[in-house]
Symmetry: C2
Subunit: 450 residues, 2 copies
Amino acid sequence: MVKEIIIIGSGAAGMTAASSARRTDPGAKITVFTEDTDVAYSLCVIPWAIEGKVAWENIVMHTPDYYREKKNIDIMTRTNVDSVDDSSKTVSAAGKTYKYDSLVIATGGKVFIPPIKGTDLRGVFIIRALQDGKNIQSYLKDVRKVAVCGAGVIGLEMALAFSNLGKEVTVIEMFDQVMPRIGEKDMADHIQKYLESKGIKFVLSAPVQSVNGTGKVSSVTAGDKEYPCEMVLFATGIRANTDIPKMLGFDIGQLGGVAVSPSLQPYRKGGLVPNVYVAGDVIQCMSAVATGPTMSQLGSSAVKQGNVAGINAAGGKALYGSIASPWVSVMGEKEIAGTGLSLGLASWYGIEAVWGKASGLTRARYYPGATEMTVKILADAASHKLIGAQIIAGEGATGRINWLTSAIISGITAEDFLARSENAYCPPTSMVKDTVISAVEDLCNKFKAA
Amino acid sequence: MVKEIIIIGSGAAGMTAASSARRTDPGAKITVFTEDTDVAYSLCVIPWAIEGKVAWENIVMHTPDYYREKKNIDIMTRTNVDSVDDSSKTVSAAGKTYKYDSLVIATGGKVFIPPIKGTDLRGVFIIRALQDGKNIQSYLKDVRKVAVCGAGVIGLEMALAFSNLGKEVTVIEMFDQVMPRIGEKDMADHIQKYLESKGIKFVLSAPVQSVNGTGKVSSVTAGDKEYPCEMVLFATGIRANTDIPKMLGFDIGQLGGVAVSPSLQPYRKGGLVPNVYVAGDVIQCMSAVATGPTMSQLGSSAVKQGNVAGINAAGGKALYGSIASPWVSVMGEKEIAGTGLSLGLASWYGIEAVWGKASGLTRARYYPGATEMTVKILADAASHKLIGAQIIAGEGATGRINWLTSAIISGITAEDFLARSENAYCPPTSMVKDTVISAVEDLCNKFKAA
């Protein structure tokens, strides 16, 4: 009998689930429902596409036709799923009912927009699909001043793209630093200064209070001050899109995502739900660093989760473990990356953290093109185990943050890392002692002094 | 009483030992003996200095005067140590005798030159000191054809430097591939092809038989064929410079380096020698991957060893552990890196290895400047533990090889790596699933199929 697999959502998790299900069961009938027009693209690229560094037509890897013809996967675009009934194993969409043997829910996240007035004015944007990016780009043409609400990674990347296009950009953030959730203040301040040097203005400790205008945006009010602008981007955080899971009565975790088993199955009143798998920004994960839940909401995590969900939906066996969630962002000449816990996240888990920090260069001192690199590393004050790290560098942050992620996941202590770790050296790509190791050295010195 | 510390050798190990000894004991009398004229520089940069990418005057970080004035470290340059007596704890140099409480031997390595005729002709060079590089650069001016004997990393980097300066370069290698010791043939062939595309010629499976000429070089003979050239560089491998250790009767290890304890003390007839520490290219290390000895002979290892030797010589406590020896080399637009065991090294330990391989890009598919990345990963066929890796990429190899080194040292299996590893993603610096992970996936598929 042909297995029927339905996937709701066509983001990184949904499309990976579809492809992995196809690899696992070459004969299954696989259908993807999505509200989106395009599939198989990375949202993360939108800032560069808006800026014109990447062509829109290159972003989409495959069309729905490609999936139909080459992978025998049906994709129903612009199709909203109205309801799911997991007792009859059916999905209703666009007036029709579809049966499934296995269901993957990969409905992603929604941009959280604060409940203030004016967010429905023309000129207010969010980014959640490729089309949002195109809409922003075309609206931008007649815009001189932009306000970006939210100084997370996406807000900052977009702010820089706008600034590079010659717009006057003001970033508005309710916390007293940029990247408040995942970045430490000293590291974040460094990025803020860099962006200020590019002409971007920052308004911190100022929650946005209203968007003002008649028909279209003319200003935003934040911290009781008005900032004139013709466009507003809300990059105020992603919340799990749990409409369908809630409709089904699935358990929602403490952080607002669907609680899932290692097989990525949801629970209903504490009992595992059969034949359903959930993946991507909509789920709550388990931290590999602290005993407890975490939200990952990264493209790379969505791909891993989609793979597990797709394999399981097709009758295979795969498990998704706990995660450290390494991330990296490129802002002009700066790369900023992080992994595991920040001081703020550590304190949420009740963990007392000790940190070490070092600055160096990305190449040998005398080698042309060497740029600054700053590494900050956190360890648990009690166990001395590494629990988090952040890097700002002109190049090479990605591989190094993966390196630190591997170390953190292995449960190594700061002292063991210092004793056992080695780094490859060549003048054009590194210092003879990597700054990562110098940062751990600083951390160990703090433990010695304590 | 003031502790007197003598260090023989001013390379990365010797100078790091001096600085670490100073930090450990601010009051010690520290003297470094070296045959070299310059200290505190990295030999690894010489190819780029010869090519003119880096200025000679920038390479030397500090002068002997700096060490004397700022660190209270005496450096006796151009001073050969004639003998050491570790029972009376004295060193004889330049007709004088110096007492020590602790001795660090960091005499480095010697270039192995095959015992053939003609190696004393004018136009024959090796690289072991900064001055060698300067001599080569000045001799090159009247040279059109260069033969490089030895296709290891240094030979290849030098060959490319010569080629970039417009010379006709032939690389002669006795094995049937470039980088025969640390590179796998498929990876090495890729680099060879790249260098051939730059105009470099290769003569493989051809041991060099003679250097020919009257007074100065006019050709080399290899594999019974004669290759006209006006200059020959021998990059035929580094042997531990064990003259002094042998004079003292220290135990020499199976690979030709001084056998040392974790405290970096030598042995004499199996007994630990007090008050003496040995560091750098002269020692034999223990492998962190296979149970057995290994030669590291990397600048980054020398710095770590020098630090341990310096701390211990000054009365502190430090240990040097087992190593995976990650390395990286940059050749034009290519970075090649490795860690742990190659197939050849694995077979030397009697380890049967299984490998996985994947190719991808260093950035998102559509992001400008994306270059190819190929990753090959080895695991022990019996335990499935990762034991080695090699990367060729247009960028980003260094951080990734450190990542894999960390994973290998942690003793993780291929399957566990695949389940637990994560990678940071941003279109300008990575693919959403890093090629490192794809390579391990390929490896796990081979294990599944077996």
